[in-house]
């Protein structure tokens, strides 16, 4: 769940005084991870819709 994950990051960050470059890096990697997951999910759902 990309939203859930990002939201967690957000929560973590929103408690900080300032966002650091490491936080941003973490977000980028998280973003990549989520998009990959999304891609997989989309492909999977495509398979399901074909069989149903």
């Amino acid at each position: 769940m990309s939203l859930k994950a990002s939201t967690n990051t957000y929560k973590k960050l929103s408690n900080k005084e300032e966002i650091t470059v490491d936080d941003l890096r973490a977000m980028i990697y998280e973003f990549k991870e989520n998009v990959d997951k999304l891609e997989t999910a989309l492909n999977e759902s495509e398979d399901t819709s074909k069989t149903s």
Partner: protein, 795 residues
């Protein structure tokens, strides 16, 4: 730096009625922004973004500057953004497809179970895609600006945006769902309501935690929709736990629970099921679902369930035998498998088939003139009943219109009846009490059917048939229930002096039990036990001539087999069963039953002016021709297994809760199932009546469910069921099939079903050929048969 604002804005839930939102799906997505400032300005107009956005830039500025030097991270970001954009079209298409599917499922009234599952999957699809559409929008609007700007603005925006836009999208969906639930509120039964609710919860359950404050509010609104109150209370407890623990697994568990627990009248049941489900892996859950589905199929094929947990047993039974007015689930521990009682009969143990067409409609018989006043009068009365039929509204009504010290609703009702001299209006309040929560379902079924037909006459007949069902019940069990409730409560003292059955009378069985216990084995026979019962009865009701008339009759309820049971308990139960509804001093039973009978006769004679339309099979529809409705397949079984005990409830017969009648080895049923819907469709109660002259008769009490009777040709259904019973009687050497053709004595179905029954009896000189038996035969409760029985078939 304004960190406080930044956080606050996220936690605030946006206005769900948002109209100005620029991120509305379907809006022109081709509009790109000239520069990042413009993008930011647009985003700032969004609620929830608000003030906090001013500080985003500052808040992240230093980090972003540093990030510019990290070429690897930037490359990944660029690559990912591009990839995401590629996926965009796919996502949008998916959402459209799923939304469309969702809508069409909804328009079709949720369809069957399979389409409901699809609907749920659709919702899940939307739920997961929601997450990304927010991002899509942001990326799409910003992507054409130069990459540095994207990074500078997009990352923090994404950060906030994920949450923010997700929230907006979700609340918009939720408000849409809420509206949907509201508009369909009156047209879905409680199961579907609960289903919608669960779907909804599963949807938001896959969202993050912060969306819940709004959703909880909605949940509470839903809770007020009069869905099984305790159940939802339990449900909310779970719901709150989920919110705290963010357990998506639990939500999925609930969802499955929702599908199987037909009515959450027992919180523990639900908790047990969910408890079982959360322990499971997704694969196990899937397997468990098919396991339940298989059991369900078995049950609807009248097979044994085998070893299952108690809560599973109850939940599956409720699915196949949906709980109704006379709740047989109250006595679940009292039922046994009595299949052996049928060992002596010859019949097809695999069950029999009935194929029957759906109903085409009804029309007035030639030469009959409808009396519109009847329909009008009862429709008005029904509306009033509707206003007060829910437990809460009934209590309010009684409190407002009665002066009484009674605390229970039954006590108040009794006071109300007395204070209004058993008027017609007061009678309707008893009907409202009787219908209770069943009312909504009853009305819904009627409405569903009425809308299926366009012609006025069919609509009128269906309404009359429903009215006949509502006013057709002889109230015996309801009266008994009222008396029982009053007696068990503090209100008993208010009505005590007029109550016939005293505590002393009820415990007299203890003395009797002691007397019987000391009897030697050889003296334990019918004559002795009946004699003892009669003597005890006479002693205890000394000075009450009305009750004394019943002493002999009451003693016949006891037999040798009872020596092995708890006699004191049997005495109490039987005394209550037989006499509590005749406690004339407490409730004026005859006044109520006279009104009920009058109402029923008026409605029934009106309904009998109609006839079923004969279906015309046509290859193509032309004017005046009717398309053949879908063929219904039903399965019937001569049977008496443990679960069949609930069929009488589906059949809506007042002795459904009488579990003692199942102990009679001469009693059995012809139960009806719809294999496709996996539902019981009522039953035919049968009683073998052996006479001293060695003649053997079968007592016939056909009670297919109200729904079934109105969905198919009632007359043909009657014929087909009766033919099966005649075949059985022939095979098993019966001398005849007997029936008491009066409404309520053999069948509670009115309208054309009752008419078909009354027309099917053997005639002699234009009236029913009658038969008097030499012995009285008890079906159950106060239902005894001896004289004046009509003949359906004779050898």
């Amino acid at each position: 730096m304004n960190e406080g604002n930044f956080r606050m804005n996220f936690n605030k839930i946006p206005d769900p009625n948002l109209k100005e939102n620029k991120l509305e799906d379907g809006e022109d997505k081709k509009v790109f922004f000239k520069d990042a400032d413009e993008l930011l300005n647009v985003l700032k107009t969004l609620p929830n973004f608000g003030e906090g956005s001013k500080d985003i830039e500052q808040y992240t500025k230093k980090a972003l500057e540093e990030l510019k030097n990290d070429k690897e991270a930037l490359a990944i970001f660029k690559e990912t953004s591009d990839k995401f954009l590629e996926l965009q079209e796919k996502i949008v298409e998916k959402i459209r497809h799923k939304t469309h599917m969702l809508e069409s499922e909804r328009d079709n009234g949720y369809g069957d179970k399979r389409s409901r599952r699809k609907l749920r999957m659709g919702l899940h699809g939307i739920a997961s895609v929601f997450n990304s559409i927010a991002l899509t929008d942001i990326l799409q609007r910003g992507i054409k600006t130069d990459s540095e700007t994207i990074i500078f603005y997009l990352l923090p925006i994404m950060m906030n945006g994920f949450a923010m836009v997700g929230n907006i999208a979700m609340s918009r969906h939720v408000s849409k769902k809420e509206k949907e639930i509201k508009t369909t509120r009156d047209s879905i039964n409680s199961r579907n309501k609960l289903q919608s609710f669960l779907e909804y919860v599963s949807l938001v359950g896959s969202k993050e935690k912060d969306g819940y404050s709004y959703n909880k509010e909605l949940s509470q609104k839903l809770a007020n929709l009069n869905i099984g109150e305790n159940a939802l209370k339990g449900f909310f407890e779970l719901h709150n736990n989920l919110v705290q623990n963010e357990s998506i697994d639990l939500l999925h568990g609930l969802e499955i629970a929702g599908r199987y627990a037909n009515k959450f009248d027992d919180e523990n049941e639900l908790k047990l099921l969910v408890g079982k489900l959360i322990e499971m892996s997704p694969e196990d859950k899937f397997e468990y679902e098919s396991y339940l589905e298989n059991l369900l199929t078995n049950l609807s094929e009248n097979k044994n369930l085998g070893q299952v947990d108690d809560f599973e047993y109850k939940m599956l039974c409720k699915q196949v035998y949906p709980p109704g007015n006379y709740d047989t689930f109250e006595h679940l521990d009292k039922y046994k498998d009595h299949t052996n009682d049928l060992d002596k009969y010859k019949f097809n143990r695999e069950g029999m088939d009935i194929y029957i067409d759906g109903m085409s409609g009804y029309k007035l018989r030639d030469g009959t003139v409808p009396n519109p006043e009847i329909l009008k009068e009862y429709s008005v009365r029904l509306e009033k009943i509707n206003d007060i039929s829910r437990p809460k509204t009934l209590t309010e009504f009684l409190e407002k219109n009665t002066t009484t010290d009674a605390e229970t609703v039954e006590g108040k009702l009794l006071s109300y009846l007395e204070q209004n001299n058993y008027s017609k209006d007061a009678f309707d309040v008893v009907i409202a009490y009787q219908l209770g929560e069943d009312y909504a379902q009853l009305i819904q079924r009627s409405q569903d059917q009425v809308v299926q037909f366009e012609d006025v006459e069919t609509k009128e007949y269906i309404q009359l048939a429903e009215l006949a069902d509502i006013y057709g019940d002889n109230l015996k069990e309801t009266i008994k229930h009222i008396v029982k409730k009053i007696r068990e409560s503090k209100d008993a003292s208010l009505f005590e002096k007029t109550s016939v059955l005293s505590g002393k009378q009820l415990v007299a069985g203890e003395r009797l039990a002691e007397d019987l216990k000391i009897l030697p084995e050889q003296a334990r026979n019918n004559v002795v036990i009946q004699k003892k019962v009669e003597t005890t009865f006479k002693n205890i009701f000394q000075g009450d001539p009305i009750m004394l008339q019943n002493s002999k009759e009451f003693s016949l309820l006891f037999s040798t087999e009872d020596f092995n049971s708890n006699i004191a308990e049997l005495w109490r139960i039987r005394l209550e069963n037989v006499f509590s509804s005749q406690v004339g001093n407490m409730i004026d039973v005859s006044a109520l039953q006279t009104m009920q009978n009058k109402a029923f006769q008026e409605i029934q004679s009106e309904a009998q002016k109609y006839q079923e339309l004969v279906e015309v099979e046509t290859s193509k529809e032309g004017p005046g021709e009717r398309k053949l409705k879908k063929l219904r397949h039903l399965k019937t079984y001569f049977s008496k297994n443990k679960e069949n005990a609930h069929a009488r409830m589906v059949a809506h017969v007042c002795i459904a809760t009488n579990y003692q009648m199942l102990e009679n080895p001469n009693y059995f049923e012809l139960v009806i199932f719809d294999p496709e819907r996996k539902r019981n469709m009522g039953t035919t109660m049968l009683l073998t009546m052996e006479e001293p002259d060695n003649k053997k008769y079968l007592l016939y009490n056909p009670n297919p469910s109200v729904g079934l009777v109105s969905e198919v040709s009632a007359k043909r259904l009657y014929k087909m069921m009766t033919d099966q019973v005649i075949e059985f009687a022939k095979e098993n050497n019966f001398d005849g099939i007997l029936v008491n053709p009066n409404h309520g004595a053999s069948t509670n179905r009115g309208g054309l079903f009752l008419q078909a029954l009354q027309q099917s009896t053997v005639k002699e000189n234009d009236s029913d050929k009658k038969i008097n038996l030499s012995k009285e035969h008890t079906l159950g409760g106060g239902y005894k048969y001896k004289n004046d029985l009509s003949i359906i078939w004779e050898k």
